[in-house]
Amino acid sequence: MNRTPGIDRERQLEAEQALLHGQTTDMDASSELYRRIFEILKEPLPVGLEPGFSHRVTAIAIKSHQRNKDAQEPWPVVALMLGLFGVFVLALVQKLSQTGWNHGFDLPSQATIAVALVALGDLWIKRRFRGRSRRLFDLKRQ
Protein backbone atom coordinates (compact mmCIF):
# COMPACT_ATOMS: atom_id res chain seq x y z
CA MET A 1 0.00 0.00 0.00
CA ASN A 2 1.77 3.09 -1.19
CA ARG A 3 0.54 6.01 0.82
CA THR A 4 1.87 9.51 0.32
CA PRO A 5 1.75 10.92 3.81
CA GLY A 6 -0.16 13.97 4.94
CA ILE A 7 -1.00 16.97 2.85
CA ASP A 8 1.00 15.78 -0.19
CA ARG A 9 -1.52 13.02 -0.76
CA GLU A 10 -4.40 15.50 -0.66
CA ARG A 11 -2.57 17.98 -2.85
CA GLN A 12 -1.79 15.29 -5.40
CA LEU A 13 -5.45 14.25 -5.70
CA GLU A 14 -6.62 17.85 -5.79
CA ALA A 15 -4.15 18.83 -8.50
CA GLU A 16 -4.85 15.73 -10.55
CA GLN A 17 -8.60 16.25 -10.53
CA ALA A 18 -8.44 20.01 -11.01
CA LEU A 19 -6.33 19.33 -14.08
CA LEU A 20 -8.97 16.88 -15.30
CA HIS A 21 -11.59 19.62 -14.99
CA GLY A 22 -9.37 22.13 -16.75
CA GLN A 23 -8.99 24.22 -13.60
CA THR A 24 -5.98 25.32 -11.65
CA THR A 25 -5.85 24.12 -8.10
CA ASP A 26 -6.35 26.59 -5.27
CA MET A 27 -5.00 24.07 -2.79
CA ASP A 28 -1.93 26.14 -1.99
CA ALA A 29 -4.01 29.24 -1.35
CA SER A 30 -6.02 27.42 1.29
CA SER A 31 -3.55 24.85 2.50
CA GLU A 32 -3.72 25.97 6.12
CA LEU A 33 -7.50 25.65 6.20
CA TYR A 34 -7.34 22.36 4.32
CA ARG A 35 -4.75 21.07 6.75
CA ARG A 36 -7.08 21.86 9.65
CA ILE A 37 -10.05 20.28 7.91
CA PHE A 38 -8.06 17.13 7.12
CA GLU A 39 -6.94 16.94 10.73
CA ILE A 40 -10.58 16.99 11.80
CA LEU A 41 -11.51 14.38 9.21
CA LYS A 42 -8.75 12.14 10.56
CA GLU A 43 -10.08 12.31 14.12
CA PRO A 44 -11.18 8.85 15.27
CA LEU A 45 -14.87 8.15 14.81
CA PRO A 46 -16.01 6.43 18.02
CA VAL A 47 -17.09 2.87 17.27
CA GLY A 48 -20.61 2.62 18.66
CA LEU A 49 -20.60 -1.15 19.18
CA GLU A 50 -21.18 -2.63 22.63
CA PRO A 51 -18.15 -4.25 24.35
CA GLY A 52 -19.50 -7.79 23.90
CA PHE A 53 -20.34 -7.27 20.21
CA SER A 54 -17.69 -9.62 18.81
CA HIS A 55 -18.59 -12.37 21.29
CA ARG A 56 -22.33 -12.06 20.59
CA VAL A 57 -21.95 -12.01 16.80
CA THR A 58 -19.51 -14.94 16.90
CA ALA A 59 -22.05 -16.97 18.91
CA ILE A 60 -24.81 -16.16 16.40
CA ALA A 61 -22.54 -16.96 13.44
CA ILE A 62 -21.46 -20.32 14.87
CA LYS A 63 -25.06 -21.25 15.73
CA SER A 64 -26.22 -20.28 12.24
CA HIS A 65 -23.34 -22.22 10.64
CA GLN A 66 -24.22 -25.30 12.70
CA ARG A 67 -27.88 -25.00 11.75
CA ASN A 68 -26.99 -24.84 8.05
CA LYS A 69 -24.66 -27.80 8.43
CA ASP A 70 -27.39 -29.80 10.16
CA ALA A 71 -29.78 -28.97 7.36
CA GLN A 72 -27.53 -30.57 4.75
CA GLU A 73 -28.15 -34.21 3.93
CA PRO A 74 -25.17 -36.57 3.79
CA TRP A 75 -24.27 -36.90 0.10
CA PRO A 76 -24.91 -40.69 -0.12
CA VAL A 77 -28.51 -40.10 0.96
CA VAL A 78 -28.97 -37.32 -1.61
CA ALA A 79 -27.37 -39.50 -4.33
CA LEU A 80 -29.59 -42.46 -3.45
CA MET A 81 -32.76 -40.36 -3.42
CA LEU A 82 -31.87 -38.70 -6.72
CA GLY A 83 -30.95 -42.01 -8.30
CA LEU A 84 -34.26 -43.59 -7.30
CA PHE A 85 -36.16 -40.56 -8.49
CA GLY A 86 -34.23 -40.55 -11.79
CA VAL A 87 -35.04 -44.22 -12.38
CA PHE A 88 -38.70 -43.51 -11.61
CA VAL A 89 -38.79 -40.58 -14.07
CA LEU A 90 -37.05 -42.56 -16.82
CA ALA A 91 -39.45 -45.47 -16.34
CA LEU A 92 -42.36 -43.04 -16.48
CA VAL A 93 -41.12 -41.42 -19.68
CA GLN A 94 -40.53 -44.85 -21.25
CA LYS A 95 -44.01 -45.99 -20.23
CA LEU A 96 -45.58 -42.83 -21.61
CA SER A 97 -43.63 -43.18 -24.84
CA GLN A 98 -45.23 -46.61 -25.32
CA THR A 99 -48.69 -45.06 -25.09
CA GLY A 100 -47.82 -42.64 -27.87
CA TRP A 101 -47.92 -39.65 -25.47
CA ASN A 102 -44.53 -38.51 -26.67
CA HIS A 103 -45.62 -38.23 -30.27
CA GLY A 104 -43.51 -35.42 -31.72
CA PHE A 105 -40.95 -35.51 -28.88
CA ASP A 106 -37.58 -36.74 -30.03
CA LEU A 107 -35.04 -38.32 -27.69
CA PRO A 108 -33.24 -35.06 -26.67
CA SER A 109 -36.60 -33.50 -25.76
CA GLN A 110 -37.48 -36.53 -23.68
CA ALA A 111 -34.09 -36.32 -21.96
CA THR A 112 -34.60 -32.58 -21.28
CA ILE A 113 -38.00 -33.25 -19.74
CA ALA A 114 -36.49 -36.03 -17.64
CA VAL A 115 -33.65 -33.78 -16.41
CA ALA A 116 -36.06 -30.96 -15.59
CA LEU A 117 -38.25 -33.34 -13.62
CA VAL A 118 -35.22 -34.71 -11.76
CA ALA A 119 -34.12 -31.16 -10.89
CA LEU A 120 -37.59 -30.36 -9.59
CA GLY A 121 -37.55 -33.60 -7.66
CA ASP A 122 -34.18 -32.70 -6.20
CA LEU A 123 -35.58 -29.41 -4.93
CA TRP A 124 -38.65 -31.11 -3.52
CA ILE A 125 -36.61 -33.82 -1.78
CA LYS A 126 -34.30 -31.24 -0.21
CA ARG A 127 -37.24 -29.18 1.04
CA ARG A 128 -39.30 -32.12 2.21
CA PHE A 129 -36.61 -34.12 3.97
CA ARG A 130 -34.31 -31.29 4.99
CA GLY A 131 -31.90 -32.60 7.63
CA ARG A 132 -34.15 -35.52 8.52
CA SER A 133 -31.72 -38.33 7.68
CA ARG A 134 -28.83 -36.52 9.38
CA ARG A 135 -30.90 -36.13 12.51
CA LEU A 136 -31.80 -39.81 12.24
CA PHE A 137 -28.11 -40.76 11.98
CA ASP A 138 -27.27 -38.51 14.90
CA LEU A 139 -29.99 -40.17 16.99
CA LYS A 140 -28.63 -43.62 16.11
CA ARG A 141 -25.14 -42.55 17.07
CA GLN A 142 -26.37 -41.34 20.44
Binding site: R3, L45, S64
Partner: protein, 196 residues
Protein backbone atom coordinates in the same frame (compact mmCIF):
# COMPACT_ATOMS: atom_id res chain seq x y z
CA UNK B 1 2.84 1.04 5.69
CA UNK B 2 4.10 1.39 2.19
CA UNK B 3 6.64 -1.39 1.89
CA UNK B 4 6.49 -4.81 0.32
CA UNK B 5 7.47 -6.31 3.67
CA UNK B 6 4.33 -4.79 5.22
CA UNK B 7 2.22 -6.17 2.39
CA UNK B 8 3.68 -9.64 2.88
CA UNK B 9 3.23 -9.64 6.64
CA UNK B 10 -0.34 -8.32 6.34
CA UNK B 11 -1.09 -11.03 3.81
CA UNK B 12 0.49 -13.67 6.04
CA UNK B 13 -1.62 -12.46 8.96
CA UNK B 14 -4.70 -12.60 6.75
CA UNK B 15 -3.92 -16.18 5.70
CA UNK B 16 -3.40 -17.29 9.28
CA UNK B 17 -6.54 -15.56 10.54
CA UNK B 18 -8.75 -16.86 7.73
CA UNK B 19 -7.38 -20.38 8.18
CA UNK B 20 -8.12 -20.21 11.92
CA UNK B 21 -11.68 -18.99 11.34
CA UNK B 22 -12.38 -21.62 8.68
CA UNK B 23 -10.98 -24.32 10.95
CA UNK B 24 -13.35 -23.10 13.67
CA UNK B 25 -10.55 -22.35 16.14
CA UNK B 26 -11.83 -20.73 19.32
CA UNK B 27 -11.59 -16.95 19.40
CA UNK B 28 -10.50 -16.64 15.76
CA UNK B 29 -13.65 -14.98 14.48
CA UNK B 30 -13.75 -12.68 17.51
CA UNK B 31 -10.20 -11.69 16.62
CA UNK B 32 -11.27 -10.99 13.06
CA UNK B 33 -14.15 -8.81 14.28
CA UNK B 34 -11.88 -6.97 16.68
CA UNK B 35 -9.35 -6.26 13.93
CA UNK B 36 -11.83 -5.01 11.35
CA UNK B 37 -14.73 -3.59 13.34
CA UNK B 38 -13.52 0.02 13.06
CA UNK B 39 -13.56 -0.06 9.23
CA UNK B 40 -16.91 -1.86 9.19
CA UNK B 41 -18.36 0.63 11.65
CA UNK B 42 -17.11 3.57 9.59
CA UNK B 43 -18.75 2.22 6.44
CA UNK B 44 -21.98 1.17 8.18
CA UNK B 45 -22.29 4.42 10.10
CA UNK B 46 -21.43 6.70 7.19
CA UNK B 47 -23.75 4.85 4.83
CA UNK B 48 -26.72 4.64 7.22
CA UNK B 49 -26.15 7.89 9.09
CA UNK B 50 -27.73 6.44 12.26
CA UNK B 51 -25.93 4.61 15.09
CA UNK B 52 -28.82 2.17 15.62
CA UNK B 53 -28.99 1.23 11.94
CA UNK B 54 -25.20 1.01 11.85
CA UNK B 55 -25.22 -1.49 14.74
CA UNK B 56 -27.72 -3.72 12.93
CA UNK B 57 -25.71 -3.41 9.74
CA UNK B 58 -22.46 -4.34 11.51
CA UNK B 59 -24.05 -7.52 12.80
CA UNK B 60 -25.41 -8.37 9.34
CA UNK B 61 -22.02 -7.61 7.75
CA UNK B 62 -20.02 -9.84 10.08
CA UNK B 63 -22.55 -12.67 9.75
CA UNK B 64 -22.17 -12.39 5.97
CA UNK B 65 -18.37 -12.37 6.36
CA UNK B 66 -18.55 -15.53 8.47
CA UNK B 67 -20.83 -17.24 5.95
CA UNK B 68 -18.78 -16.34 2.86
CA UNK B 69 -15.22 -16.29 4.19
CA UNK B 70 -14.54 -19.59 2.40
CA UNK B 71 -14.96 -17.70 -0.89
CA UNK B 72 -12.17 -15.22 -0.06
CA UNK B 73 -9.31 -15.90 -2.51
CA UNK B 74 -6.65 -13.52 -1.11
CA UNK B 75 -6.68 -11.44 -4.28
CA UNK B 76 -6.82 -8.37 -2.04
CA UNK B 77 -6.13 -7.64 1.61
CA UNK B 78 -8.69 -9.17 3.96
CA UNK B 79 -9.65 -5.67 5.13
CA UNK B 80 -10.48 -4.67 1.54
CA UNK B 81 -12.62 -7.77 1.06
CA UNK B 82 -14.45 -7.15 4.35
CA UNK B 83 -14.90 -3.51 3.32
CA UNK B 84 -16.46 -4.69 0.07
CA UNK B 85 -18.88 -6.96 1.96
CA UNK B 86 -19.71 -4.06 4.29
CA UNK B 87 -20.33 -1.67 1.42
CA UNK B 88 -22.48 -4.22 -0.41
CA UNK B 89 -24.63 -5.00 2.66
CA UNK B 90 -25.00 -1.29 3.47
CA UNK B 91 -25.87 -0.41 -0.15
CA UNK B 92 -28.55 -3.12 -0.20
CA UNK B 93 -29.97 -1.77 3.06
CA UNK B 94 -30.16 1.74 1.55
CA UNK B 95 -31.82 0.36 -1.58
CA UNK B 96 -34.42 -1.42 0.56
CA UNK B 97 -35.18 1.92 2.22
CA UNK B 98 -35.16 3.63 -1.19
CA UNK B 99 -32.37 5.98 -0.09
CA UNK B 100 -30.11 7.18 -2.91
CA UNK B 101 -26.37 6.61 -2.56
CA UNK B 102 -25.66 9.92 -4.25
CA UNK B 103 -27.93 12.97 -4.02
CA UNK B 104 -29.90 13.17 -7.25
CA UNK B 105 -28.46 15.68 -9.67
CA UNK B 106 -25.38 16.30 -7.61
CA UNK B 107 -23.04 14.34 -9.83
CA UNK B 108 -24.47 15.89 -12.97
CA UNK B 109 -23.59 19.43 -12.06
CA UNK B 110 -20.06 20.71 -11.84
CA UNK B 111 -19.43 21.92 -8.32
CA UNK B 112 -16.33 23.70 -9.51
CA UNK B 113 -18.55 26.20 -11.25
CA UNK B 114 -21.06 26.55 -8.43
CA UNK B 115 -18.45 27.36 -5.82
CA UNK B 116 -16.25 29.53 -7.99
CA UNK B 117 -15.68 32.77 -6.18
CA UNK B 118 -16.87 31.40 -2.83
CA UNK B 119 -14.72 32.53 0.01
CA UNK B 120 -13.22 29.96 2.32
CA UNK B 121 -14.38 29.99 5.90
CA UNK B 122 -12.43 32.38 8.06
CA UNK B 123 -8.95 31.04 8.57
CA UNK B 124 -8.95 32.18 12.16
CA UNK B 125 -12.09 30.25 12.90
CA UNK B 126 -11.90 28.68 16.32
CA UNK B 127 -10.90 25.03 16.10
CA UNK B 128 -13.99 23.73 17.98
CA UNK B 129 -16.28 25.78 15.80
CA UNK B 130 -14.53 24.56 12.67
CA UNK B 131 -14.77 20.99 13.97
CA UNK B 132 -18.53 21.34 14.50
CA UNK B 133 -18.87 22.83 11.03
CA UNK B 134 -16.79 20.11 9.36
CA UNK B 135 -18.69 17.28 11.08
CA UNK B 136 -22.04 18.88 10.22
CA UNK B 137 -20.92 19.33 6.63
CA UNK B 138 -19.80 15.68 6.41
CA UNK B 139 -23.19 14.55 7.79
CA UNK B 140 -24.92 16.63 5.13
CA UNK B 141 -23.10 14.85 2.29
CA UNK B 142 -24.70 11.91 0.48
CA UNK B 143 -24.10 8.41 1.96
CA UNK B 144 -21.55 7.54 -0.73
CA UNK B 145 -19.67 10.82 -0.42
CA UNK B 146 -19.33 10.69 3.37
CA UNK B 147 -18.29 7.03 3.18
CA UNK B 148 -15.60 7.80 0.61
CA UNK B 149 -14.36 10.79 2.60
CA UNK B 150 -14.13 8.65 5.75
CA UNK B 151 -12.40 5.73 4.03
CA UNK B 152 -9.89 8.07 2.39
CA UNK B 153 -9.11 10.42 5.26
CA UNK B 154 -9.81 8.43 8.42
CA UNK B 155 -9.10 4.83 7.40
CA UNK B 156 -6.37 6.05 5.03
CA UNK B 157 -7.27 3.51 2.38
CA UNK B 158 -5.60 4.03 -0.97
CA UNK B 159 -7.67 4.95 -4.04
CA UNK B 160 -7.06 1.42 -5.32
CA UNK B 161 -8.44 -0.10 -2.12
CA UNK B 162 -11.46 2.20 -2.08
CA UNK B 163 -12.15 1.37 -5.73
CA UNK B 164 -12.10 -2.29 -4.82
CA UNK B 165 -14.43 -1.74 -1.84
CA UNK B 166 -17.05 0.19 -3.80
CA UNK B 167 -16.46 -1.84 -6.98
CA UNK B 168 -15.82 1.17 -9.22
CA UNK B 169 -12.91 2.30 -11.43
CA UNK B 170 -10.16 4.27 -9.70
CA UNK B 171 -10.83 7.31 -11.88
CA UNK B 172 -14.47 7.34 -10.76
CA UNK B 173 -13.46 7.14 -7.11
CA UNK B 174 -10.99 10.02 -7.56
CA UNK B 175 -13.67 12.08 -9.23
CA UNK B 176 -16.27 11.33 -6.55
CA UNK B 177 -13.75 12.17 -3.83
CA UNK B 178 -12.78 15.40 -5.52
CA UNK B 179 -16.40 16.44 -5.91
CA UNK B 180 -17.22 15.36 -2.34
CA UNK B 181 -14.40 17.53 -1.02
CA UNK B 182 -15.56 20.46 -3.10
CA UNK B 183 -19.07 20.00 -1.82
CA UNK B 184 -17.73 19.76 1.69
CA UNK B 185 -16.00 23.10 1.25
CA UNK B 186 -19.16 24.55 -0.27
CA UNK B 187 -21.24 23.37 2.65
CA UNK B 188 -18.67 24.71 5.11
CA UNK B 189 -18.91 28.11 3.51
CA UNK B 190 -22.71 28.04 3.70
CA UNK B 191 -22.74 26.82 7.30
CA UNK B 192 -20.37 29.57 8.26
CA UNK B 193 -22.61 32.12 6.59
CA UNK B 194 -25.58 30.78 8.55
CA UNK B 195 -23.65 30.98 11.81
CA UNK B 196 -22.38 34.48 11.10
Amino acid sequence: MGTHVDMRSASHDDHALVADVLAGRGGAFERLIGTHQALVWHIAYRMSGHPEDARDLCQEIFLRVHRTLGQFRFQSALSTWIGRVAFSVASNALQRKKIQLVDPGVMDSDPLLTIAGNDFPDRDLHRDQLRTLVLAAVDALSPLERTLITMYHLDELSIEEIASVVDAPQGTVKNYLFRARRRLRDKLAKLQEELA
